[in-house]
């Protein structure tokens, strides 16, 4: 049994029985990274020494009987979360050498749980993008076909899990950045309800939309990771004091009594690849066969979601990225004539084109004379979108949809065509606007062998329902053992 191919659940059992050690498991993962990351390019920073030291500490805890489900488990972290003493770049040249003096709350919680942090994963710069091509450093490749995008912005996280270069990973999701790469790489990913997971130490992109979430090889693995990181944090005033159930206790006794909703606007969506449509249809049939009832629902403002998001997100980003000015940390342009030139040159040289594009878009939308027409209007439409979901959830317990309109496309296809890239977020960004949770679970493959994911969305704070449906679907479809060929 190749240790790096284990799931968190499987590894946890073996570690508990002392059949393997965390040191062995971590070494296996580090060797796997050496063997294949040259092709995939998922990692920006690998912390061999730190990981092995954490593994040793975990082995001591395991020996003392003081272990939990994540103790000794090697995980990768999207490079958007601050890890104390370990370089954190947000895939941007403006933070190329930034070493955070503190841990994000999610990192502190993973460390308390005894997890082993193996390294930091590639992403679109400052989480702006859906392909991971907008990283300031390297392009991550889809392990299922190295000429295709892994999705984004958590492309490194999804690719690393798919390629067994970690047993699980953290990503972040502002408009789909966990769910879409999970779908493109054939792994599970969940964006929790807004406020469910602390954003303290998550480098901010769009503060009212960002959420951290896990990516893993199975629904159960994601539930285990979410258990470790969820819950109110006094350091994040947008985190919600909502009680956290034990997500890992997933009900698996059928779906009788569950009603699922299919939005008719989604099935009719332009540009939906027929293979994606049919994979989703098959998944719906399986879910019905487990006892769920299926109804049609309507999300009438679906057509406006992309436009509303691409006003709100860049606007919030333009404000959040104002802090990168070369004063206290990060890149600073050498020898500017004065302070203003320092700001301008630092930012222009440090930020990549997609980031600059969104800052300009956001600044424009918030500027005097345009604020009401753009940001104000988009925020009102956001209310309508949120209300659409509230009404739909009167009629059903979960909404099913595709994650992306097509399987992963070729690297380079949208690099100069941002609008096409933006339109591919149509199924995911409404969940961020409405704050509801969304799970992406693999449901099939295209004829070319590229993964296709199903999205399950639920009411606020009802991740339990998503895990319940996702886990049982996964058991029926049974494709988790299929692996990309990276030899």
């Amino acid at each position: 049994m190749k240790l790096h191919e284990l799931t968190i659940e499987q590894a946890g059992r073996l570690l508990k029985k002392k059949e393997i050690s965390s040191a062995e498991l971590t070494r296996a993962v580090l060797e796997r990274i050496e063997a294949v990351d040259g092709k995939v390019s998922a990692y920006l920073t690998v912390d061999d020494e730190g990981a092995l030291a954490q593994a040793e500490a975990a082995d001591q805890r395991l020996a003392a009987g003081d272990a939990g489900p994540l103790t000794g488990i090697p995980l990768g972290i999207k490079d958007l979360m601050c890890t104390r003493g370990l370089r954190t770049t947000c895939a941007s040249r403006i933070l190329e050498n930034y070493v955070p003096p503190y841990d994000a709350t999610v990192i502190a919680r993973l460390k308390e749980a005894g997890a082993v942090i193996v390294g930091k994963l590639n992403m679109d710069e400052f989480a702006m993008g859906s392909t991971t091509e907008h990283s300031g450093f390297q392009v991550t490749r889809n392990p299922w076909n190295l000429d295709r995008i892994p999705g984004g912005s958590s492309g490194g996280s999804a690719a690393a899990v798919a390629a067994d270069m970690c047993l699980g990973a953290l990503g972040s999701d502002t408009g789909g950045s966990i769910r879409q790469p999970a779908s493109h790489c054939g792994v599970v990913g969940i964006k929790p309800t807004y406020g469910r997971v602390s954003r303290f130490g998550l480098v901010a992109f769009a503060s009212s939309l960002d959420q951290i979430g896990p990516l893993g090889k199975s629904v159960a693995d994601c539930a285990i990771m979410l258990d470790a990181i969820a819950g109110h944090d006094p350091k994040d005033s947008t985190s919600v004091p909502e009680p956290v159930p034990v997500f890992a206790d997933i009900e698996t006794d059928g779906l009788t009594g569950v009603t699922i909703g299919i939005p008719n606007e989604y099935t009719a969506a332009q540009g939906l690849d027929p293979q994606v449509g049919s994979a989703v249809e098959q998944a719906v049939k399986i879910i019905e066969s487990l006892g769920a009832r299926c109804v049609e629902v309507s999300l009438p403002h679906t057509d406006y979601a992309v436009a509303a998001y691409y006003v709100i997100a860049p606007s919030e980003a333009s404000s959040n990225l104002a802090r990168y000015d070369g004063v206290k940390y990060g890149f600073r342009d050498k020898q500017p004539a004065d302070l203003l030139q320092m700001y301008r040159r630092t930012r222009s040289r440090g930020f990549g084109p997609e980031v600059q594009r969104r800052i300009i878009l956001g600044t424009y939308a918030l500027s005097a004379g345009y604020y009401d027409a753009y940001y104000g209007k988009a925020s009102q439409i956001r209310t309508l979108i949120k209300n659409d979901f509230a009404s739909a959830f009167d009629a059903c317990d979960a909404i099913l949809s595709p994650v992306a309109p097509t399987p992963a496309y070729g690297i380079g296809e949208t690099i100069d065509d941002p609008l096409t890239m933006y339109l591919s977020d149509i199924f995911t960004l409404s969940a961020n606007l409405a704050g509801i949770p969304g799970l992406s679970v693999p449901c099939g493959f295209s004829e070319e062998g590229m993964p296709i994911g199903l999205q399950i969305m639920g009411r606020h704070f009802n991740e339990t329902m998503l895990f319940k449906i996702g886990r049982q679907l996964e058991a029926q479809i049974a494709i988790n053992d299929r692996k990309p060929n990276l030899e």
Binding site: S237, T238, R347, Q356, T363, K377, Q380, P418, L419, A434
Partner: protein, 94 residues
Amino acid sequence: MKITKEEVLHVAKLARLDIDDADVERFSGQIGTILDYVDTLKKVDTTGVAATSHAITLTNAFREDEVNGQLEPEEALANAPEKENGAFVVPKII
């Protein structure tokens, strides 16, 4: 609606970005296309609709005004591009 080069330059100035001529051309084109798309928002009747700035109802999170956990000065200065005597050094302002 096209965004003019002057508007791009004005906004770039507000955002403290230097954009060279080739990029102004490219950005105006790309951003113009995006703004055209975003203009579809005008079609929606939002009379009487309140804006949403946060999807979850939040109330102000307060705590007692007590010192708890802080960065040591060396930690705070560790990533400074330029520092001196416990302060960040920047180009002359005045």
